[in-house]
């Protein structure tokens, strides 16, 4: 383990990735898996737009359409957007704070494998009797009435992958609190680290209600429970509350890291310190806090009464204030700077108008009486795509280009990157801007078809054409990635030339122990400070060179997750197949046995010796 740059065969590399606990490799795993699910979710989106391209279309059937929209939403939120953000959190955050790894490398791997097996389980529903069809929100009366096993796949799959997310959240929190390098005070942390921190805190408090809600659904559907069966005294509104107590913070779990990524980009490509750093931090924390106070704005039409609606209206509007602060601080960051329009910067510049548009429509929906009209219409579809695509997806695409050199020591083609951007950006506005008007014109969301006499034909066609442009953009990106990997031209550290934070200071390829000596952080944008002072190495060290303690790799996270994957099949077929309960027990046994092995077997990790480090460093230069 301790010797580095050894050439490995395919089997050994595969085993390496299956057992890795290195945050940089886990980041690559998240990127690959999240990218795959992003493409799957994108194909589902295309099917939706093909079906709705013309009135009375019969490209897909009504039932299949509901499965597609459910899987599109669920996949994009849980299996694409979040894991892709986790990829960058894993790849970048420990480097930004000068840490050798995350706090719990083993749990980091466990989090990934849980997510992957949960996602696989959910997607297996396509081949095993039909996907979930009750919408990504899976409102209880419909999700109980839904036939087949689709909703069971939804509940169990999300439960498994949600556990992974929860673990990842705790892990990032502890990493940031405990493992910052000397001098890296809270108010010197780069914004991406800050947003990772707040998003992780949101995960910590938002995922348990989802877990509980999903358990209720599992118990009701598979084990004879009555939480949502109103004939037995149950209440479906409980699901709506639990889902949105999770669901609203979930939006911020996605958008805050996106804000972090754009903060880094604006500052980097304007050669300028982030304007109003401390108020940016304050705004991030405030958004995170308020994110828990507004869930019922998804439920204005449920009939909670005027007082609840009024309170949640006003609370929701309040979120606009810190968000506005952020927008203006970004604008003032580029103001007076030296703007270089690279691909990541192009995304950041595209993000501002897109996200402002998404934000203001959010305020419109915060006005409860107006929301009675907008809710569950295409207006809301337009709104959340403006926020999620215009905010989160643009951030992810920007980060792919920005951090590709950090993760792979290669540069994606800027030229192809710009093509991707323009196709995607124009396609995005073309698809979703028009949908605001469809909603106002009375088109409800989640309709599998629409009549020709309702005045919606042209706008739907425009929307579908826009989707094609977006797809072309993504295809160009995939081509770009393949070409770059095949070419494999190494670029070294700080490839953008203006790197400000620690992750750009570290030599490429990054040693598995990250920093040979823990750096001393001397201010915000510490790498920038060092460079301005003419420090060639880019870092001041806080400690002399000494042995480094590193954790061992392990296959146990994978096995543990696989156990839950097996157990899920048992739960799914409970009461239907004879083998269901044995399989459930077997799966849980695998998981608990791996936990016991983990806990009984001492795992002290290993030490990288000073001499090896020096040798390795020599090899790098």
């Amino acid at each position: 383990m301790s010797s580095i740059a050894k050439k490995k065969g395919f089997g050994a590399s595969l085993w390496d990735y299956l057992t890795t606990v290195d945050h940089k490799k886990i980041a690559i795993l998240y990127l690959a898996a999240g990218g795959l699910f992003f493409v799957i979710g994108g194909i589902e989106a295309m099917l939706i737009r093909i079906q709705l391209a013309k009135p009375d279309n019969d490209f897909v059937s009504a039932g299949l359409f509901n499965e597609i929209i459910t899987m599109h939403g669920t996949t994009m939120i849980f299996l694409a957007a979040m894991p892709l953000l986790f990829a960058f959190m894993n790849a970048v955050m420990p480097l930004q704070i000068g840490a050798r790894d995350v706090a719990f490398p083993f749990l980091n791997a466990l989090g990934f494998w849980l997510f992957l097996f949960g996602g696989l389980f959910l997607n297996l529903s396509w081949f095993m009797g039909g996907a979930p069809d009750a919408g990504w929100t899976s409102y209880a009366s419909l999700s109980l009435a839904s036939e087949g096993h689709g909703v069971d796949f939804y509940a169990l799959g999300l439960q498994v992958s949600g556990a992974g997310t929860y673990i990842a959240g705790i892990n990032f929190l502890v990493t940031i609190i405990n493992m910052r390098a000397p001098g890296m005070t809270y108010m010197r942390m780069p914004l991406f680290t800050w947003t990772t921190f707040v998003a992780s805190a949101l995960i910590l408090f938002a995922f348990p209600p989802l877990t509980v809600g999903l358990f209720f659904l599992i118990f009701d559907r598979m084990f004879g429970g009555n939480f949502f069966d109103h004939t037995m005294g149950g209440n479906t509104i409980i699901w709506e509350h639990l889902f949105w107590i999770f669901g609203h913070p979930e939006v911020y779990i996605l958008i805050l890291p996106a804000f972090g990524i754009f903060s880094e980009i604006f500052s980097l490509f304007s050669r300028k310190r982030l304007f109003g750093y401390s108020s940016m931090v304050f705004a991030t924390v405030l958004i995170g806090f308020l994110g828990f106070m507004v869930w019922a704005h998804h439920m204005f039409t449920v009939g909670l009464g005027p007082t609840a609606n009024a309170i949640f209206s006003v609370a929701t509007m309040a979120i606009a204030v810190p968000t506005g602060m952020k927008i203006f601080n970004w604008l003032l960051t580029i103001w007076g700077g030296s703007i270089k329009v690279t691909v990541p910067m192009l995304y950041a510049l595209g993000f501002i108008p897109s996200f402002v548009a998404g934000g203001v429509t959010g305020i419109m929906q915060a006005a409860a009486p107006l929301d009675y009209q907008l809710h569950d219409s295409y207006f809301i579809v337009a709104h959340f795509h403006y926020v999620i695509v215009g905010g989160v997806v643009l951030a992810i695409l920007a980060a792919v280009h920005l951090y590709w050199p950090l993760m792979f020591n290669q540069m994606l083609s800027e030229k192809l990157g710009k093509w991707t951007f323009w196709f995607f950006f124009i396609g995005f506005h073309c698809t979703f801007f028009i949908q605001h008007f469809l909603g106002l014109m009375g088109m409800p969301r989640r309709v599998f078809t629409f009549g020709a006499d309702q005045g919606w034909d042209t706008f739907n066609l425009i929307s579908s054409l826009g989707a094609i442009l977006m797809a072309i953009g993504v295809i160009i990106l995939v081509v770009n990635v393949i070409i770059t990997i095949v070419k494999n031209e190494k670029v070294g550290n700080d490839p953008w030339g203006d790197g400000r934070t620690l992750e750009w200071a570290i030599p490429q390829p990054i040693p598995f122990y990250n920093f040979k000596q823990t750096p001393l952080v001397r201010g915000l944008d510490t790498f920038w400070i060092e460079k301005q002072e003419g420090n060639k190495e880019g870092m001041t060290y806080a400690e002399p060179l000494s042995d480094i303690h590193m954790p061992n790799g392990s296959i146990i996270p994978l096995v543990m997750s696989f156990g839950l994957f097996v157990a899920s099949f048992g739960a799914l077929y409970n009461g239907e197949k004879d083998w269901a309960i044995p399989v459930l027990v077997l799966g849980l046994a695998i998981t608990f046995a791996s936990m016991a092995i983990r806990s009984i077997k001492d795992d002290h990790g290993f030490h990288v010796h000073k001499e090896d480090i020096l040798k390795n460093e020599g090899g790098n230069k």
């Binding site: 502890v174 493992m179 348990p208 118990f219 009555n226 149950g234 209440n235």
Partner: protein, 208 residues
């Protein structure tokens, strides 16, 4: 400060669970985990309160007629005592008295098992009355809330037993001190949750 260093009562640190970085991480991470668990139980409590006494029309069961305080009171006392014994165990860990710690943890385990047995007896009793898991929304919410707690007790017991056996011959180290500490923290958490269950489910159910 290596994991394998042998300590004497004199050299043993004041907070052995937080000396190594791994220990510190475990300590903080576990507190955060418990924060999440608190939200989980809050959701269960809220649901229980919403569905309390709700069932199909003409349901015969209600909190007033169903619950019997004496048994639950005994369970409460047992679990509270077990929390106290786990405090003794941590006290001995601080003083580098390995045998003392193992003994008090063993007593904690015995009390925990007693609690779990009484809970199983209680559930069994209800089921025989016809108050089964699927009888009503009330029964579902009750069994889920109290049962989730029971599951936590069972997991806690398994965890502590594993620690006792695993380390019986090894004595203290900075590697296992955080493990003992977090296990006892978990046990306290379970206890606190039970205090809420006792108050909200049973006391308020019978009296309120």
């Amino acid at each position: 400060m290596d994991f394998n260093t042998k300590y004497t009562p004199q050299s043993w640190p004041d907070h052995p669970e937080q000396v190594t970085l791994e220990g510190k991480n475990k300590f903080l991470g576990f507190w955060l985990f418990l924060a999440g668990e608190t939200v989980l139980f809050s959701s269960l409590f809220a649901t229980y309160l919403a569905l309390k006494n709700k069932g199909p029309s003409g349901m015969e069961f209600s909190t007033q007629t169903l619950f019997e305080l004496p048994l639950v009171f005994v369970m409460t006392m047992i679990l509270l005592t077990s929390s106290l014994t786990s405090v003794y165990a941590m006290y001995h860990m601080k003083n580098h008295n390995f045998k003392g710690m193992q003994t008090w943890l063993a007593i904690t385990v015995i009390l925990g098992i007693a609690f779990l047995c009484l809970e199983i007896y209680e559930f069994n009793h209800y089921v025989h009355l016809g108050f089964t898991y699927g009888q009503s929304a009330f029964s579902t919410a009750f069994f889920t809330l109290v049962g989730t707690h029971g599951l936590h007790v069972a997991i806690g017991l398994g965890w502590i037993i594993l620690l006792l056996i695993r380390n019986a011959k090894r004595g203290f180290s900075l590697y296992n001190a955080p493990k003992y500490y977090t296990a006892s923290l978990y046990w306290h958490f379970i206890d606190v949750v039970w205090v809420f269950i006792f108050t909200v489910v049973y006391l308020m159910g019978v009296v309120g």
